[in-house]
Symmetry: D2
Subunit: 404 residues, 4 copies
Amino acid sequence: MLTLDFHPAGRHFLHIPGPSPVPDRILRAISHPTIDHRGPEFGALGLQVLDGLKHVFRTQHPVVIYPASGTGAWEAALVNTLGPGDAVLMYETGHFASLWKRLAERLGLRPEFLGLPGIDGWRRGVDATMIEDRLHADRERRIRAVCVVHNETSTGATSDIAAVRRAIDREGHPALLMVDTISGLASAEYRHDEWGVDVTVAGSQKGLMLPPGISFNAVSPRALEAAKTATLPRAYWDWADILPMNRNGYWPYTPNTNLLYGLHEALDMLMHEGLDHVLARHQRLAAACRSAVRGWGLEIQCVDPAAYSPVLTGVMMPEGVDADVVRALIYDHFDLSLGTGLGKVKGRMFRIGHLGDCNDLMLMAALCGCEMGLRMAGVNLQGSGVEQALHHLSSHPLESARTA
Amino acid sequence: MLTLDFHPAGRHFLHIPGPSPVPDRILRAISHPTIDHRGPEFGALGLQVLDGLKHVFRTQHPVVIYPASGTGAWEAALVNTLGPGDAVLMYETGHFASLWKRLAERLGLRPEFLGLPGIDGWRRGVDATMIEDRLHADRERRIRAVCVVHNETSTGATSDIAAVRRAIDREGHPALLMVDTISGLASAEYRHDEWGVDVTVAGSQKGLMLPPGISFNAVSPRALEAAKTATLPRAYWDWADILPMNRNGYWPYTPNTNLLYGLHEALDMLMHEGLDHVLARHQRLAAACRSAVRGWGLEIQCVDPAAYSPVLTGVMMPEGVDADVVRALIYDHFDLSLGTGLGKVKGRMFRIGHLGDCNDLMLMAALCGCEMGLRMAGVNLQGSGVEQALHHLSSHPLESARTA
Amino acid sequence: MLTLDFHPAGRHFLHIPGPSPVPDRILRAISHPTIDHRGPEFGALGLQVLDGLKHVFRTQHPVVIYPASGTGAWEAALVNTLGPGDAVLMYETGHFASLWKRLAERLGLRPEFLGLPGIDGWRRGVDATMIEDRLHADRERRIRAVCVVHNETSTGATSDIAAVRRAIDREGHPALLMVDTISGLASAEYRHDEWGVDVTVAGSQKGLMLPPGISFNAVSPRALEAAKTATLPRAYWDWADILPMNRNGYWPYTPNTNLLYGLHEALDMLMHEGLDHVLARHQRLAAACRSAVRGWGLEIQCVDPAAYSPVLTGVMMPEGVDADVVRALIYDHFDLSLGTGLGKVKGRMFRIGHLGDCNDLMLMAALCGCEMGLRMAGVNLQGSGVEQALHHLSSHPLESARTA
Amino acid sequence: MLTLDFHPAGRHFLHIPGPSPVPDRILRAISHPTIDHRGPEFGALGLQVLDGLKHVFRTQHPVVIYPASGTGAWEAALVNTLGPGDAVLMYETGHFASLWKRLAERLGLRPEFLGLPGIDGWRRGVDATMIEDRLHADRERRIRAVCVVHNETSTGATSDIAAVRRAIDREGHPALLMVDTISGLASAEYRHDEWGVDVTVAGSQKGLMLPPGISFNAVSPRALEAAKTATLPRAYWDWADILPMNRNGYWPYTPNTNLLYGLHEALDMLMHEGLDHVLARHQRLAAACRSAVRGWGLEIQCVDPAAYSPVLTGVMMPEGVDADVVRALIYDHFDLSLGTGLGKVKGRMFRIGHLGDCNDLMLMAALCGCEMGLRMAGVNLQGSGVEQALHHLSSHPLESARTA
């Protein structure tokens, strides 16, 4: 069989926008022996991770952990709160918003998709006024939920969730607010309670620095209320089975023990660094990355500076350049993984992830790989993006990386 | 925060009927760095594990891998093949059969439950004639599926799936046959194709020796055909999304990368030992365990020798003894985890797991812990079960454990 | 090349008297990335392990750590304190005492070997009166050092070091007292300062639960004084180079970084369990092991109950039985490693290690393997040793293994 | 106690010239359970690593493995072949050559030190004509050994060992040739047999990519012959004890089991990449690093292009700049460890390691850290070294890093 030790000499550089590089600490944590998920130590572990998650989501309310990928948590959010044929207002910020909409359709909901046409909507965040206008028009209050993506992993645009909340509130509309922050949590600022989100969907393999395999629903009291009458069939995803057992740190079915070990370690790391520091670190790295893109004379996919993502940066290729050819060359020569263009921007851009357990020199390594690869692919660059990023980082020093 | 290094001096003995003890090799495998789930090495890995699984399920047809616990794979089997209100024939072999039935109800199906009353049905396998009779009575062929549990983890009884198949065939009934072998796969003999199973549900944390977190549907051509017209809403679980991408070793959403590393290692271990040898090892250990229970003068929960499970053995307590008190004492004094009695047999029995990466001395350690604990708890034993098990093992030697 | 994953199904049982089973925690600790041995974090680590070792040796004075096996630490003790041709009084307690004497000869010392003839001396500890008599006869005080083995790994006899100290003191003899407690440290009681030991030699792979690769000299002020005038050539072993740098947590040459990580973890485990509890655990397991040997009707190699080792038990075979044939059979059938008979007792006995990270069920597993193997080899046993050991352990319960 | 998880967010960059970054594969290998060092699997492992080492040293003759740091292997080379008071010709190439000379003195040898005065000798390799002249003057053939350092870790200069051999041969001088390639092995070309080296000294923590803790003597037939009459006292280091046991894959004392697991993995990695490819990779990275130093307008410590080291590059600081202040700043801000200036060049230079498991982006990360740190420290740079290195690497592409 194939060896699991895939890579050539030296370290692989994983700069897709998730899974993000899993720190050694977490890899060691998930290699602890699996224990009885009904024993006393497991219950203690369960309580700790359930409690720690609240800090990360900035909520006082429960967070549900699923042994599932983020797609499962999308489904969970919908089936726990809605009924067949319910109208849902969704917003096309990019590929993942589109996938969520498709999933809603397959579950028998009737999603309506707002957004700008073509790829324009894929280059910025949510326009809350469009949502407000649409809710305003919904005189019969048929729309049961507003679903938006906080950080669009396919584009590198972050939406203003508080603004969406205000739009709903200004209309006094009863729709639930559901937000996907799968790639945003613990990398971009996110405030479940303060922003009045009803269901937050998140995943493990991004800012939480874990391997993929668990995902989350943070749930407001209103969402719990809605769940009581929601009629979509559900079992695996049902909050009502999970929450009572969670009170003692257990689950109704076998949880993903070893990823929970990793989650415990990740929460410890985030708390130790300090969530505010984590977010500031992401902003600083993202700014350095954008200065590199500008240094190359290339376009940042996100055209709205207010929506620049701290998680990833989309890099548009000049006309005639196939971004996937560039990516393959970079992968082949420099053992650097970048994100591909998805859906409407397939082949037109690549994505640089700078999320999770990332630091200055990891980012610089990635930018060096990009710069060499772009030149080797014959892309006409205006200058050295690496130089710009070096300048940005050294002129915006952290107090000390060592005390981070 | 809590340290993850829970246990006191020396090795913990995990003898619940799953999660089974995860071998060091697999723990190291899952601690490989997470890679790009869309990159070329991942595709190669995906193809290998998808192919290797076929050998374990003994099928030529596809096996679907879910980032989910076994409960999710139960749900997947049903939603991919059935419609709202469909009649399903299920069989009460124990707690897990009951949970599957409850899940079916919550998905909007109409399960009918066969089986013996009280705990009688919890002490043996499926009676195929009851199924045959019921199908015979189903003149309108309303029953869309027959669902049985192959190895009841709550009781230690293994059912004769081939006999169920024959019962269906004798009636010429079109119902799909769905089998839960979550705790049976790779420990008890199982033949998806030969036995004509349409959907086999399995999990990672038992005979596959992995941590929990992924689960499986092995799918027959008839099941795939049924899926085309099945009307229960589904998205996450939908075979139709997964199978086309699996052809290149990929998945439509982020798979559980690190558990797939572990699966790769597990398949390598199983192939290297040889699946027949693995199954024979389980049978031999189970027989030794039962000889210990008899040596103690206690009752084996399963009353039908033909249904004795090679995976676990249920041990009934004498009247007046609370099995959970015994279990707690054993856990406390000997750092040995045993399975609790579930549902109808709560407090009346405990379960000894001898599955997965188990060998003679691991079993003997567990039996020693049981024997000491039973005595310390004041349970009146007829003799030394340990002595009986020692006798069984040494008089039934493997050719060589070293060449296993 | 050969796979590193040597063993067949299930866990290997390592019951040689060292290397002892390395706990998972320590294996994970040694798999931390290697760091700069001259950086600030390393210095902090160095100070911590150097300080923690003092508690284990029960000394206020320095403990030197060598990147070397225990044999190296034997050599270090001698070359730091003695000169060519110096007379050294050694005592034949078994194979390792003999090896130390041979090493002394090769370094140009003149060791004199006390002890009983034949294998009689290999079945008990040091007779301090023989040492006292010999020192008394040394009117010219030519003997520069008395060297004894605290716990003879080849026999399972522990010597009374305090008695040796008293013997020296009664004579007012200036000889240094050097003690090998390679297999005793952290398993058998040991008190460097209180017993007036000048150089204690120890290793990593026994009670400290580490892999082999580092070893120790604990050094009294008198030994340091002797080192100033000692004339054997030395460089690698020289305390004078190491101790000044140790003051800041560093070493003059590259230390064994990853084993120091393991040492840090081991010290944490020992402190957490409590050294007294660790020693009591060893005594209890050793007593259970001996009760098994008696139950089989076999002879314990050590004939003096006062000298019974808490670390290992030597089991004499009846006439005509080749112990190594029995060991090989046990290894082959039950994946259990036992210690071979060494030197004078080659083929006449085997050794059961019950040291380091050992607990009740690990010992019982080993005893079960021995009992089955002895029977399979046709050794005539008087009864079930396993039963005796079970009885011993359950009638001498720890308060709780869980709180150990 | 201190956590072992020292570092702040993201990956630490270890670019000292050893210990080099230990690949994950090797860290996992050394975390395999410790086994019986006298059992059959261990013997098989021993034979494999002893055989594999021959390929790396390019010798047909034995390689001795010590559980010791490189300093121990220095001592071993001398005590196995020489007698008290023997004259030894050594050559001052830098700090480590000086340490080896000091060690020889302490063992009672009479080393004579050739080389250029001041730091001039620390900026180039061995001048073989100086050795030839000195041997020529040694009419009485009193010089018993010529000792040189192949790759001076303190300076980044590699000496021409074949030229030294020719110098000895031209004189027909019987002195043994002993070479320290502790930091050169498996990074710089080295040919034990072809270059007529009698004893090669090497270590684990450089090109072999292991943690520190084991070291080596490769031994020619002439060296073995010399060992028969050599009179320095020795025991731990004695080849005569080790070599006979090595024939079956065992050692006379407990070897460093877990580092041998790592060695097995390292040999597998080197063979898989191909030793020639490994060496070419090092040369390419070193050339890129030097182009960066030139781009900064700083001086490379090694002034002789023929002696440029593929392992590390010494970077001289301009007058008035304290190299250790720069290093500390870089460490503090960018979590990058560089080598300090040692001995005569303390504070005047720092060292960039690019050895072992290093690749393009790891080197670029280090160079980015250096460039930012140099600027932040106020060092006047002539230009961007990073840009020069990027240019070098992209204009000298490997065929494919992926197939390395």
